[in-house]
């Protein structure tokens, strides 16, 4: 990791999240996302399936060979994070892991969930939480 890396921050179901800018292709309004496979992050987070929010958007990301659109309530910012901004995910004991979470990051006065795209967008997760393609 270089000393400062860009991250896109966004909100989903009341949670603050961040994804490495190097994984983000573009941010689209929902109606612009025709043809992209969408991933329902709200439902992955255990909330109800995402419903239309006024600033709802699709964050188009890469995970290996895949290109997926993450449905977010709002894209909030592009920020620069350095090593000092990251807070380790604590150990919860030997049987609990949170693979989709690469770290927590201090953004403003809250901790954001820094998502690991490769662990989030696994074939099994896509099978369970994809909402299919937006019709063209």
């Amino acid at each position: 990791m270089s000393s400062h890396d860009a991250y896109l921050t966004f909100t989903v179901a009341g949670r603050r999240c961040a994804v490495a800018g190097s994984r983000v292709i573009e941010v689209l309004r929902l109606e612009e996302a025709a043809g992209f496979s969408l991933f329902d992050l709200a439902r992955f987070f255990g909330a109800e399936a995402s419903r239309t929010a006024p600033r709802q958007c699709v964050i188009v990301v890469t995970a290996g060979e895949r290109v997926m659109g993450l449905v977010a309530d709002e894209a909030t910012d592009v920020i620069s994070l350095s090593a000092a901004d990251f807070v380790s995910v604590p150990s919860f004991g030997p049987r609990i892991t949170i693979p989709y979470l690469s770290a927590l990051a201090r953004t403003g006065d809250v901790l954001s969930l820094v998502l690991d795209m490769d662990q989030l967008l696994t074939a099994a997760h896509i099978e369970a939480f994809s909402t299919g393609e937006v019709p063209a």
Binding site: P90, F92, L113
Partner: protein, 115 residues
């Protein structure tokens, strides 16, 4: 030497934690919810510039899990530090024995049972 207990209430259950295991009692601000954990562990608490596991003692006592209880007891469990969500602090109890109607909470055993 006498044993001291922190007595608290959560979801109507009175619980007692050995005072030697208690680091601090705080307002439960700074909760970050993390999906994918057992129901009794809603996420982490931002405490002294680190994220520590947040455990709902109400859920541990068999009640419906909540993440919005007012207070958190910061407790040590071996090498771990935990935030235990409670509703209110009742006081300090002195003595080896705690009443039968008070549930003894061992933070290490709580984490072991959940994780």
């Amino acid at each position: 030497m006498s044993v001291q207990w922190l007595v608290a209430t959560v979801a109507g259950t009175v619980v007692a934690i050995r005072l030697r295991d208690v680091q601090e009692i705080i307002d439960s601000m700074g909760v970050t919810l993390l999906p994918g954990l057992p129901a009794a562990i809603p996420g982490v608490l931002d405490w002294r510039n680190r994220a520590i596991p947040l455990i709902d003692l109400g859920a541990v006592c068999g009640e419906r899990p909540r993440h919005d209880r007012r207070n958190a007891v910061i407790a040590t469990a071996g090498s771990h530090i935990l935030a235990l969500l409670i509703d209110s602090i009742d006081g300090i109890h002195d003595g080896e024995e705690i009443g039968d109607d008070i549930r003894h909470i061992d933070p290490g055993a709580v984490l072991e049972a959940l994780a």
